[in-house]
Symmetry: C2
Subunit: 119 residues, 2 copies
DNA sequence: TAAACATATGAATAAATGTTCATATATAGA
DNA sequence: TCTATATATGAACATTTATTCATATGTTTA
């Protein structure tokens, strides 16, 4: 039989005092958005593989393409994403372009993630 | 004018020795996939906001819905995602369900990400 | 300058994902 | 048992996103 449908949380907020405190400590929306954008970058196994590969040192696009099961084009597209987020940098040497990690944050973020998984 | 198109990396791999080393140190594909899944969770500002809110302590679904600009349904869906990834846990108290962070990894992953953004 | 190679990029496509709406389920109280 | 409230869930939809294909750009060497 049908039952009445109620909108949620009619009694105002259930814990207004907790909510007030949380609200005041929360990072601004814009910052949360940027942070989400950053983690989104790490949320793809192709990009993760590239980052892990670069932990050992610089590699060129062909090396990376040879390492992964995707086309050179796909690698190149993903390198651009990583470059735009300042997670990797590059240098040119003739026809070849060498990519490497931008800083040590990448390694630390990867490790924290791995730790969580490995339990 | 048209120029000939060449497939990439014809000369075998450019740096075979580097590639060999990288290949041997790379985490297995399955693990990279799992790690990507984890970071994917952090790659959404709604979920990030929930996680940051829970840093201060437990909150019920209505509290969280009140905090965000989305429906109770959306919050509930996201809570399930977070629950499935073992990032949050919950306890029931009558009609109300209180959610809280599962462990301290969440906080550390968030901090590492923030550090990168804040430069 | 023409050919060859390394890398980048635009368009198209398929798959994944977040939100809402409608409604189901669980619990408490009358 | 009936009603009200808190939370969960399935379906539909719109948006994002990763990949491939075709081709463009940049660099070296003949």
């Amino acid at each position: 039989m049908r039952r009445e449908i109620a909108p949620c949380c009619q009694e105002q907020q259930i814990h207004p005092e907790a909510l007030e405190k949380v609200r005041s400590l929360l990072p601004p929306d814009e910052r949360l958005y940027d942070l989400a954008e950053l983690f989104k970058i790490f949320g793809d196994s192709t990009r993760l593989k590239i980052l892990y590969a670069l932990l050992e040192g610089e590699l060129c696009v062909c090396d990376l393409a040879g390492l992964m099961a995707v086309t050179q084009s796909a690698v190149s597209h993903q390198l651009r994403v990583l470059k735009n987020s300042k997670l990797i940098k590059f240098r040119r040497e003739g026809k070849t372009i060498y990519y490497s990690l931008a800083d040590s944050h990448v390694e630390r973020i990867l490790s924290q993630g791995m730790e969580h998984i490995e339990e």
